[in-house]
Symmetry: C2
Subunit: 396 residues, 2 copies
């Protein structure tokens, strides 16, 4: 008996994916050089050579049984210790190996974090604009995703709107900084105010509220700035991470959850994650991949291209009269469309071979997500094409 719920999901195709498929079709038609595909967030820089060297060394020197044998369901101990050490060194935390849980990317990390600290029927609160996949990720647990309307001024948090949303059914708050799609980096002030609000509401409601911090873009920050580390501001924090962006390994599905040692039941959460794995078809991420990333935890790909590209697009958008916030990080920028219906805008742009994602599914209609993980020359020519499009269609 085919499950109708999943059959019905086939009709709710991801907007990002369907625009990217149209872009790919067009590339086959007229050549990739002539299509400006700003739709998908697929890292375009190589992984660091240190990673490749680490893996080649492991394959050449480790006995196959040590490299490919079962990992404990909580992850390989030496890998967890190395992850803890790296976070402690970089962010002044005091994680032990027991607080780290290697996962299959951030998707796997969130799947475990959500299930550990919420139960079916609970609410998980997030902030618009947000990554559309949060919706199925949360629905899959039986909890519901509640969305706080955006602060359209600076894309930080509208605390009045946030406070109105909070109620005793809220078990977790999900943040994503640097943010997909807006590129916003939450400031220390925002994180401090968020922590204050959560502590007050924990007292008021008489139960824990966990902060689940999704941080795959943590290392892609601009202007020499840094992303303040959210777990430093709030004890009940589960930090979800992926090496997809920092090491350009999106296909390898490797990341972790880090449990703040000061969280409620901090010692139980990782063993609980291992139990959750048994119910959702996980086990652990690839053993060789765990061992390889453990050797390059403080390295990244050359991420500077994203800032170079951002500046080109940002300057072009400002010049063309777009309302747009300068991104603090990620490889996205999020301008307001030049007409109310961003879908109409995106459709017209396709006539100029410009592919951008309208923002409706990000919980904030009227905007566009432009992903600039492309060669810089392609971005430069794309900005020129955007100028043509805007001038001809909107008389910019």
């Amino acid at each position: 008996m085919i499950n109708d719920r999943f059959k019905d999901m086939l009709n709710e195709k991801s907007v990002i994916r369907s625009i990217s498929e149209r872009a790919s079709a067009r590339k086959r038609e007229i050549g990739a050089d002539h299509v400006f595909d700003f739709s998908i967030g697929n890292p375009n820089v190589a992984c660091p050579s240190q990673f490749t060297d680490a893996m080649l060394d492991l394959y050449s020197t480790e006995p196959p049984h040590a490299l490919h044998g079962y990992s404990p369901s909580t992850g390989i101990l030496s890998v967890r210790q190395a992850m803890a050490d790296s976070l402690n060194r970089r962010f002044g935390m005091d994680y032990e190996a027991m607080h780290l849980f290697p996962t299959s990317g951030a998707t796997g990390a969130l799947a475990h974090a959500f299930r550990a600290v919420t139960k079916p029927g609970d609410e998980i609160v997030t902030f618009a604009p947000f990554f559309p996949e949060y919706q199925p990720y949360v629905e899959g647990t039986g909890a519901t995703l509640t969305v706080v309307p955006p602060d359209t001024e600076r894309f930080q948090i509208d605390f009045d709107a946030f406070e109105r949303t909070l109620n005793p059914k809220v078990a977790a708050v999900l943040i994503n900084t640097p943010n997909n799609p807006s590129g916003t980096v939450y400031s220390a002030e925002t994180l401090e105010a968020l922590a204050d609000m959560l502590r007050a509401k924990q007292r008021e409601f008489g139960h824990d509220i966990f902060l689940i911090s999704d941080e795959p873009y943590r290392e892609i920050v601009f202007d020499g700035a840094e992303q303040p580390y959210p777990a430093r501001f709030y004890d009940n924090t589960l930090t979800c991470y992926s090496f997809s962006k920092s090491l350009s390994l999106p296909g390898e599905r490797i990341g972790y959850v880090a449990v703040n040692p000061r969280a409620t039941d901090a010692d139980l959460l990782v063993p609980m994650f291992a139990q959750i794995s048994r119910t959702i078809g996980h086990n652990c991420p690839s053993s060789s991949m765990q061992l390889a990333v453990a050797r390059v935890l403080d390295d990244t790909s050359d991420l500077s291209i994203y800032e170079t590209n951002m500046n080109i697009i940002y300057d072009a958008l400002v010049d063309l009269g777009f309302t747009v916030q300068r991104p603090g990080g990620t490889f996205y920028i999020f301008p307001k469309a030049l007409e109310e219906d961003a879908n109409a805008f995106a459709r017209k742009a396709m006539d100029y071979d410009l592919y951008m994602v309208p923002s409706d599914s990000f919980g904030m209609p009227g905007y566009l997500r432009i992903s600039y993980c492309l060669e810089t020359d392609q971005v430069r020519r794309g900005a020129e094409r955007l100028r043509e499009f805007v001038t001809e269609v909107y008389g910019g």
Copy 2:
């Protein structure tokens, strides 16, 4: 608010794991050579050199972006085609790439198969003795696992008991051949009778009943025999596979679901699997691992050691008067304990540094699972130790 369901699971520790932990502790005490750890099914032969060579070649020659970039959520097309070709060649099937879905091991394969063809409240039927992890795997979907009592004679299927179990709420039947823990290989006669029964019940109940065939031990068969391919007998079959045993890669989490092209909605099932992934925190297995196994689909590790070891243990057990079925495959054997309570038997054996798993959690009390993926010399000395134990304690 910590989820009590997963917190409670911490108290239901896996028997296999806790015995294996005791064996490991004892090894640290007296040295690994003196402990006979028959508890865990962890392949002890190296992966084939073809696999290592394939991966080294990929890392040395493929551009990082092609090797580590996002895989489509249904898997890499060339990999799916290669998997289909290999199955068609070996088992006379007619899979196309669209019927193959790469997964994170058999655990991931089962998680997708269960959810696609059952809904919460449905029943999934399996046969004792069975792999204890089926319980949390099925419960995690909201369906319930119903267990058919064993055919203790030959460990095939007791069809009278099976028919009594079948009712309109049964949406799927789960088989595991070659079987963990009994080592039984289902014969063509068994599979034919099973298919006949399922076809009759589909007509009677007026809905599909899917056969979910869990086949990680498919290539470990003895006496020059072959495991008949279950999907050849029944159209509505989802074949779940893992390379953990055939290629000795249990830590790498790589496998697949193959949808019989003649199954109901065969064309929809793989796209549905990709939707299911979004709700349980998957994405796809490691991209480089997909590409590497695709190059060695018809290869295996040197699996002959398992047959050598089986014969040593089987002969010793028979000689000592155990009631035991000669395994047709796997790296397990499943004798009846020499007293009614297999837990008591296993506890007493530990005084002789023999570690075996009592069978209660396999749905069939009174037996022992002996896993013989060890060096042959260790198995030989373990058989001697077993003789001492049985003679001294049971006057064998």
